[in-house]
Symmetry: C2
DNA sequence: GCTCACATGTAATCCGTTACATGATTCT
DNA sequence: AGAATCATGTAACGGATTACATGTGAGC
């Protein structure tokens, strides 16, 4: 008999830590995790309910979270909590080096790559469209995301705001870069 | 009988335009397309041989490329060429608005988002690691990719170089941003 | 009364990658 | 002689998304 109750030692992948992390930040239900992700982590790690629910079940059977009934009247709801083992797993992951390689896919950049095939007018139009998209993304981030993250920061949880500002600044940088490129193509 | 020979009007997705574009830039075989993609488009649109070969077959049956035998001795090789219809399809795509939404997935940023869970030392270590990775990526891009793209540009094909410089500059910007964040966390 | 948000789950599907299979040529 | 590269394909697998299925509660 082993000294401690052994759980199935499932190899956790990134979506598991997303769930663990969101739980730790105060989300209690699967639905709430998805809602929180949709205004924050979705920009660098999207997820879906069809991923969150099975993930919670897996984490529960691994002993990293506990589930309790949290129904409001007749409306069913499950409230999850991170266990000590879950906290350990999260911290271990946060301290560990990168596993999954960064992936980036952007059809706009691919178009730009092949833009030599276009006549100059269309090239310029493409670059301007990309610039406008970058600016629009920056604006959306600054109006919709950053204020929420800043409010969280006032409560002491600072890194969501760090990331939100980084995202907005990155879009701003891209917008400026594309603006300069557009000017160059015009001249 | 229809007035023109009608081809199966397959709906082309982005990987089709990647192949068409690479063919137009001078790659002739599927193998060459993949090789070219591995030092250029892979940073914003990765692909694999298992995607390229079926894609070429599909484009051929749609009449957008033609295939001819290009064996060297006993070594088999197929050479593809973009047809007029293929050129039209490529240009139409280049001029069109975005279809596939940009997707970005980065485990490092996800860690940063949850970094409030870490003690200050570990936070700083995480940010420094990310900064170093951004700098390393910039260096790799400037030494391995940019020179090749610049050489292409001297031949008149300029946009691969535009994109390569944009990528390197973006990594540089990220490195600088993370450097400032690290300094802030130290202070 | 109706619509939207809350809430949980499963099934089907899609897209892409890795692994497998095979063989020739060039470089060390 | 052996390893790496050139070259073409298919099969298996995996991870994620969309669609499906179902029901409650709150706001207009």
């Amino acid at each position: 008999m082993p000294p401690t109750r052994s759980r199935a030692a499932v190899k956790l992948r990134t979506p598991a830590f997303l769930v663990l992390g969101m739980l730790r930040l105060g989300a209690t239900s699967g639905y709430a995790i998805k809602k929180a992700a949709d205004v924050s982590t979705r920009f660098f790690w999207p997820t879906s309910l069809a991923q969150v629910y099975p993930q919670l079940a897996e984490l529960e059977s691994a002993g990293l979270v506990t589930r309790r009934d949290d129904a409001h009247g007749a409306r069913a709801r499950d409230a999850y909590e991170v266990t000590e083992a879950g906290e350990d797993a999260l911290l271990e992951w946060l301290r560990s080096g990168r596993a999954a390689p960064t992936q980036f896919r952007d059809e706009g950049v691919l178009r730009l790559f092949f833009a030599d095939a276009l006549p100059p007018d269309d090239r310029l139009a493409l670059v301007r469209r990309m610039r406008d998209e970058a600016r629009a993304a920056e604006t959306r981030m600054r109006t919709d995301i950053v204020p929420m993250a800043d409010a969280l920061a006032r409560g002491g949880t600072r890194f969501p705001a760090v990331v939100a500002h980084m995202g907005a600044d990155a879009y701003a940088y891209a917008g400026g870069w594309l603006e300069r490129l557009a000017a160059e193509l015009e001249g």
